[in-house]
């Protein structure tokens, strides 16, 4: 089995808050890995450490076989990220953002194909700031795909979307999965996670409680009619 990401016993504190408390995790090539957990559990921090945006206090992270601190330049060429906040200039237009981000990379995916896939064509000349939440999300997803990355990180890509938009977004995500890309995302929607993720990592208070295929997680409850929501309630909440 080849792992595209290996994180080893990482810890991260913000002042007195321990956001990540000793997480080890391996991500397999081509899988969709979902990260679930309560607000403040440490999902974003864990993702941002994998993206190379934050340095863990301790522990090591290997992405595509390279150490994230030593080879961040090569790694960044080959990953795509979407943050929880839109994180774009106030006065940039969708088209300009796509051109700008495309210029950062050596490898580029056909921008027009991304625009068509995400249905962004009618919005190209609009300011990102003025788009509805769903279209902002799609714009930042488009930017995550612009370099045709091997690994795609998405921090709550479907939060705030209407049901149809969520469905369409999953359509896109599945299309990229079919190309063999590895996708790591966080979500608060258990139905989505159960349906679309190959494996699910449950984080609680900075610790990895479990990481397994949805079926096994549900099976572990000893009730085969249970859903991932029950799993969540069992493992991710409380003390």
């Amino acid at each position: 089995m080849s792992y595209v990401i290996e994180i080893n016993n990482i810890e991260k504190s913000y002042g007195k808050v321990k956001a990540v408390d000793g997480i080890s995790l391996q991500v397999k090539r081509g899988e969709v890995l979902g990260i679930i957990g309560a607000n403040g559990a440490g999902k974003s921090t864990t993702l941002e450490i994998m993206m190379g945006l934050r340095k863990p206090d301790t522990g090591t992270v290997t992405v595509l076989g390279m150490d994230i601190t030593n080879s961040s330049d090569q790694i960044k060429q080959r990953i795509g990220i979407q943050l929880q906040q839109t994180a774009l200039y106030d006065r940039i237009k969708v088209k300009e953002a796509l051109e700008l981000f495309s210029s950062y990379y050596e490898k580029k995916r056909d921008v027009n194909e991304i625009i068509e896939t995400l249905g962004l064509r009618p919005y190209l000349n609009k300011f990102v700031k003025n788009l509805s939440g769903g279209w902002q999300q799609r714009t930042s997803l488009a930017l995550a795909l612009i370099n045709d990355p091997d690994i795609i990180f998405l921090d709550e890509p479907t939060t705030g979307l209407d049901p149809q938009a969520r469905l369409e977004l999953w359509g896109c995500i599945n299309r990229y999965r079919a190309e063999g890309k590895t996708i790591i995302l966080s979500t608060h929607y258990m139905d989505e996670a159960q349906k679309h993720c190959d494996r699910i990592a449950i984080i609680k208070k900075g610790k990895l409680i479990s990481c397994d295929v949805p079926k096994s997680l549900i099976h572990s409850l000893g009730n085969d009619n249970a859903t991932l929501e029950d799993v969540y309630l069992q493992y991710a909440v409380g003390n």
């Binding site: 330049d73 839109t86 700008l100 210029s103 950062y104």
Partner: protein, 247 residues
């Protein structure tokens, strides 16, 4: 290389969409210049300078201040708060490129703003521009760099956009009025005149006037240049220690 170029072009494009930046760079100084010119054209100033010899450099000094504090200091805080730099950190674009683009944008704003004042003076009031273009350019560039480093201190101190805006607004009063850039310092009581010594823009006004009038390489100018150099070194050190693109 291509990416630095594209990024810099985008920074400049976005600059021209910021109402506040445009107002303080291209409108306020130009309008003040015209209004004062109509009122005080015949007066003479500090060291026997005529209105234009004194106020062309003054208005450009104000542009240096507003660019450093609003278009750089404040804008960096706004973009950082939005997460822009964090997002960029996830791309191959490195922080040196972002820094370079920000500095180029700053120079660009100041040079364009200065050219605007020069054009108004030449074609609006038929004044002769300086015959010391090189000295003035040198002075302008040096003063800009000094204030850029102060701008970065603003973005180091302020985490939130409102804090940065507050700092810039509060700094604006002494910078505009106690630096000699607008009202001649002689018009103030002695105590306020003394305050001008701790307002960095005072020295910018002096150095720009020296450049404009061809006295940049005199002993008199040396003191002002020396003080600004000190400000530059100290703020660069503070900036390097405390400034962060991402939280």
């Amino acid at each position: 290389m291509q990416s630095i170029l594209t990024h810099t072009k985008m920074e400049m494009k976005l600059f021209f969409r910021e109402t506040l930046a445009l107002l303080f760079t291209f409108i306020v100084p130009a309008v003040s210049f015209v209004v004062f010119a109509i009122m005080f054209q015949g007066s003479s100033y500090d060291g026997g300078l005529d209105y234009f010899q004194a106020y062309i450099p003054s208005m450009i000094a104000i542009i240096i201040f507003t660019t450093a504090f609003f278009s750089m200091g404040l804008q960096i805080v706004i973009d950082r708060e939005k997460g822009v730099y964090k997002r960029l950190k996830g791309t191959p674009l490195n922080q040196r490129a972002i820094f370079t683009a920000t500095i180029i944008k700053g120079f660009f704003a100041i040079y364009i703003g200065a050219i605007e004042i020069l054009l108004i003076a030449k074609f609006g009031f038929s004044t002769n521009l300086t015959s010391h273009a090189f000295q003035f350019f040198l002075a302008l560039t040096f003063c800009s760099v000094t204030f850029f480093s102060i701008g970065f201190i603003v973005s180091s101190l302020a985490k939130r956009m409102n804090t940065a805006l507050g700092i810039a607004m509060i700094a604006m009063y002494p910078m505009m009025f106690l630096s000699g850039a607008t009202i001649p310092l002689e018009a103030f009581p002695e105590i306020l005149q003394n305050v001008s010594y701790i307002v960095p823009l005072t020295y910018v006004v002096n150095v720009l006037r020296d450049g404009w009038n061809g006295t940049l390489f005199t002993a008199d100018a040396l003191v002002d240049i020396g003080i600004l150099t000190g400000v530059l070194i100290v703020s660069a050190i503070i900036g390097m220690k405390y400034f962060k693109w991402t939280d």
